[in-house]
């Protein structure tokens, strides 16, 4: 039997009940007409104890006895409940058959047991942020690993002397190296989890900044200019030519800091104090997050019917990085921010999520505009996937196989 079932654990009274006990102990049990039901119950309890209660000298021990008695009776009232014999048989058959109603002889009782199980195992856990709890869990693990790591560091001492032979020391060093080779990859994985957590917090911080900005600007989303120049990919040149300058508006107007928009996984991310004269990041590499391409004339935050489906911000686009580096584009590639495992997305309604793919549920690719997605889709539809029957288009067509 669990010891917790046997021993009352340091019971104490509610403040009101303590005052009531004090009053009764002061006036004695002969005080006529209890004023409340609680007082009446207390009188009954004291009578059960069969002990005189006037005087202050033994007050504490008596009060403890009353509390213990009350607690025991309360526990008995609940723990004494037992199933009827028929229910016990049905319960045993139900559990041992793997919780199958059909396997129980008394189907009516089995259905009761099943309904009771549904009640017990039900419960809505959708309120609260699922992603936030997952991120906090991963960050907590990382913090634990970091703490463990720091306690493993050995501080050199004054007058340190070698505890054994050189050969022993070499053996220990070899073992440490071996252990490090095993632990380091795990550490590296956990560090990336922590970076993900910081990045997720950045998203939430930036959501607040967007909220403050739109509130102060008639619901208009941040925008530095009324339109773009030849390309919105030109970062750090002139504000009218870059989409990132639109996002930088949050920093320039001090709704967010550079650190809020710096993913820890981006080694080139700009951090620290922002230049008050700046209109944009200095280069594409400094940018950690991609911002929704603003249409001509800007966009009102309240103009969209389903803000939960509109991506406002995400980890940086791999497509733009590849285009600027003159590399072939992979449309379904994940952001480089988190080892290409996925990306955070901040939606227009202010919610932040993590996704393993740049494809939304609506099959919309966040890196590409719809016309280009359509072209890719049509090309795939038309040509299909290679079957192994294809031939080179001629002697100059480079084409290799397995």
């Amino acid at each position: 039997m669990n010891p917790d079932d046997q021993q009352p654990q340091d019971p104490s009274l509610e403040v009101e009940d303590q005052q009531l006990v004090d009053r009764i102990l002061e006036h004695g049990l002969d005080h006529p007409d209890p004023e409340s039901e609680t007082e009446s119950r207390l009188h009954e309890l004291l009578a059960l104890l069969g002990t005189p209660v006037q005087g202050e000298s033994h007050r504490d021990s008596r009060a403890d006895m009353i509390e213990i008695r009350a607690r025991r009776i309360q526990r008995e009232a609940i723990d004494e409940a037992r199933l009827s014999q028929e229910d016990q048989v049905a319960c045993d058959e139900y559990v041992e058959s793997g919780y199958s109603v059909e396997a129980v002889q008394d189907a009516t009782r089995a259905k009761k047991l099943e309904a009771l199980g549904v009640l017990v195992a039900s419960g809505d856990v959708s309120h609260g942020s699922r992603e936030s709890l997952i991120t906090r869990t991963l960050s907590g693990i990382q913090a634990h690993i970091d703490a463990e790591e720091s306690t493993m560091k050995i501080e050199p001492r004054a007058g340190f002397q070698l505890p054994g032979r050189w050969a022993d020391l070499v053996s220990i060093a070899a073992m440490l190296l071996l252990a490090a080779s095993v632990i380091m990859p795990i550490m590296s994985g956990m560090r990336s989890m922590n970076q993900q957590g910081i990045c997720f917090n950045n998203m939430n911080q930036t959501a607040n900044a967007f909220g403050l900005y739109t509130g102060a600007n008639r619901d208009m989303l941040p925008m530095a200019t009324a339109g773009f120049g030849p390309t919105w990919m030109d970062v750090g040149t002139t504000p009218e030519r870059s989409n990132s300058s639109n996002l930088y508006t949050l920093i320039r107007n001090q709704f967010a800091g550079l650190d809020d928009l710096a993913c820890p996984s981006n080694p080139n991310a700009a951090t620290g104090d922002a230049d008050p004269e700046a209109w944009d990041w200095n280069s594409l590499e400094e940018i950690s997050y991609s911002y929704r391409i603003m249409p001509q004339g800007g966009m009102r935050a309240t103009s969209i019917d389903q803000p939960v489906r509109v991506v406002l911000l995400s980890d940086r686009s791999p497509v733009v990085l590849r285009i600027k580096a003159n590399q072939a584009v992979r449309p379904e590639e994940n952001s480089p921010n988190h080892d290409h495992t996925g990306q955070h997305m901040l939606m227009l309604d202010g919610s932040a999520t993590w996704s393993d793919s740049p494809m939304l549920d609506s099959r919309d690719n966040i890196w590409l505009p719809r016309p280009i997605e359509s072209v890719i889709h049509e090309a795939r539809e038309r040509h299909g996937i290679m079957t192994g029957n294809e031939q080179p288009d001629g002697p100059t067509d480079a084409f290799v196989g397995p």
């Binding site: 917790d4 019971p11 104490s12 009274l13 509610e14 009940d17 009531l20 039901e37 609680t38 119950r41 009954e44 009350a70 009776i73 309360q74 008995e76 009232a77 609940i78 723990d79 409940a81 037992r82 199933l83 009827s84 229910d87 049905a90 045993d92 559990v95 041992e96 793997g98 009516t108 009782r109 259905k111 009761k112 047991l113 099943e114 309904a115 009771l116 199980g117 549904v118 017990v120 195992a121 039900s122 419960g123 809505d124 856990v125 609260g128 709890l133 997952i134 869990t137 991963l138 907590g140 693990i141 634990h144 990859p185 795990i186 994985g189 990336s192 495992t341 996925g342 393993d356 793919s357």
Partner: protein, 210 residues
Amino acid sequence: MRGVQLSEWQEQSDEQVFEAFRAEEPGAYRELIERYHDDLLRFLTRMVGDRAAAEDIFQDTFLQVHISAHSFDSSRRFRPWLFTIAANKARDYLRKKNRRKTVELSAPIKKSESGASFVDLLEVDIPSPDAAMDLSERDEMVQRALDQLGPALREVLLLAYFQRLSYAQIAEDLGIPLGTVKSRMHSAVASFARAWQSVSKGEKSLLSLW
């Protein structure tokens, strides 16, 4: 190295994902946490009766799983192992919390009005799974009824219904004799049924005042 994509994880069992985590596959541990978010959080909330505390224990549980990963026997199932760790954490939390638990003198001090020591489930009004009922109201009532059970009974009841384990499996997980599991289960079902009856009756009588 790239992590396994979402669709590929979906085809893998918990045990395979856990092995992938032990093999340092990126994203595997997150996948496990995501898989058990709803079920484990629901279990812990029912066990401790407090969502914020349940979230703390949820985090502690996965930290413990991470620390003890090397000790997991890969021939066994992951889910019971996870829930056993979670139940241990919840029990520790309740033990600490109950040390300073207050007692209200206005709480019932007599046995139930019927005076019966035995509960007959046929006499208890338990809503069928498809009964129309306000879910948040039902959640609250279930929690109030569960809160009236002692931790040991609540633990057996929740482990049984959440994990659908046999008596022998519960006995093994909790490290207690089979007979104790049976008697606790009987008592837990009876106590919960009685508490549910009391809570739902109270709710009905309150509604009748309007």
